[in-house]
């Protein structure tokens, strides 16, 4: 058997390689960041069977983002068995009550809207980001939303969530694999937001 005369014997070389690989994996994975979701859920949520989803505020640079996310929210609520008022009916009632800014209702407006639509709660929301962002070497989708569930009797906030999804994952950055589309990311962000409610 040949004598290993190198400064770094085989066993140590193997250990060094393993340490380096493990370190790189820890760094890359560890830099994924903390959870990107913030939520509050009141103990008073019970008996919410029927809701109306108001038009969302669009704080993103994508013109139709608020409409898209609102549709996704309605679909997600329906898939979870919640009764949702038809959006056209919501628009009609807001017009009837002369509410010009559905994204900034006072408690009085919330109560009036709730009574007219015969719902237990209203869902309001904002789309904060809905875009394809450019990172260091790659492009990636980024969708950020905020949603609230407001009791139509008291005007209290029963549930609030802020969630962001997207960003370049490990496989996209290093192996150029196809990441999620903007629509898929939007569906994920809405689904995970509602996972904090149901």
């Amino acid at each position: 058997m040949k004598e290993d005369k190198s400064i770094f014997p085989q066993a140590l070389r193997n250990r060094l390689c393993l340490s380096i690989i493990l370190s790189i994996l820890i760094l890359s994975a560890g830099c994924a960041g903390e959870k990107n979701i913030k939520f509050y859920r009141s103990d008073e949520i019970k008996g919410i069977e029927r809701v109306a989803v108001l038009p969302f505020e669009n704080l993103s640079s994508e013109k139709e983002a608020a409409k898209r996310i609102r549709r996704t929210v309605i679909a997600e609520l329906l898939s979870r068995g919640v009764d949702v008022i038809e959006p056209g009916e919501v628009t009609r009632v807001l017009r009837e009550l002369e509410i010009r800014s559905p994204t900034a209702l006072s408690i009085e407006d919330i109560q009036k809207t709730g009574k007219k639509l015969k719902v237990d709660a209203l869902i309001t929301g904002s789309v904060i980001a809905y875009r394809i962002s450019r990172g260091i070497n790659v492009s990636y989708p980024e969708v950020t939303i905020q949603l609230m569930l407001i009791d139509t009797e008291t005007g209290n906030i029963l549930w609030s969530v802020w969630n962001t999804e997207g960003g370049p994952d490990f496989w996209v950055r290093h192996f150029g694999t196809e990441g999620k589309s903007l629509s898929e990311t939007a569906r994920d962000v809405v689904k995970k937001a509602f996972d904090t409610l149901f």
Partner: protein, 197 residues
Amino acid sequence: MSILRCYQRYLVFLLFLFSIITGGCASTTTGTFHINENVDFSYIKRVAVLPFENLTDDRSAAEVIRQLVISELLASGLVDVVYTGDVMAALKRQNIKDVTSLDTRQIRALGKDLKVQAVIVGTVEKYGEVRMGTITAPEVTITLMMAETDAGSIIWSVTKTRGGAGFMARHFGARPETLSETALKVVRDAVQTLYAY
């Protein structure tokens, strides 16, 4: 030979330690804060977050950060937060057009109207992507202040900034933060200075 073996063991350990340390060296949040230690914060049960001042080029920046602050406060369970629509209605009732320069009388009036013990005001100084050589990275800088509605005095203020692509992102392809993640972290770090009290 035994000395060399000793060094070899330390080399492996140092390499691992270096990795752990630099792995934590992603973008960090820096800033300052002040809190009035003579104030008993436990009496503050309900706050109103007023519209923030926007000093950036992004016209939505102030509202984005404001909503994040509201979410963070609600999620913390520390205080109840007045719904934003109600805040706007109260500002209209009190005939307040410029929230960036409220006087004591206006703060007291808002406190009574909204039944809150404190109001939070803020400024967004930076919100966007900045160019750093060949790469761009998100940067967010905010200032928040809390004024109690009894005396109208500032009892808490914090300035936080976060941004840039970390060492590991630039050189080893670690995942960089998105603008939303940077904003989330800077607001969380800012509000956390209140948790301790």
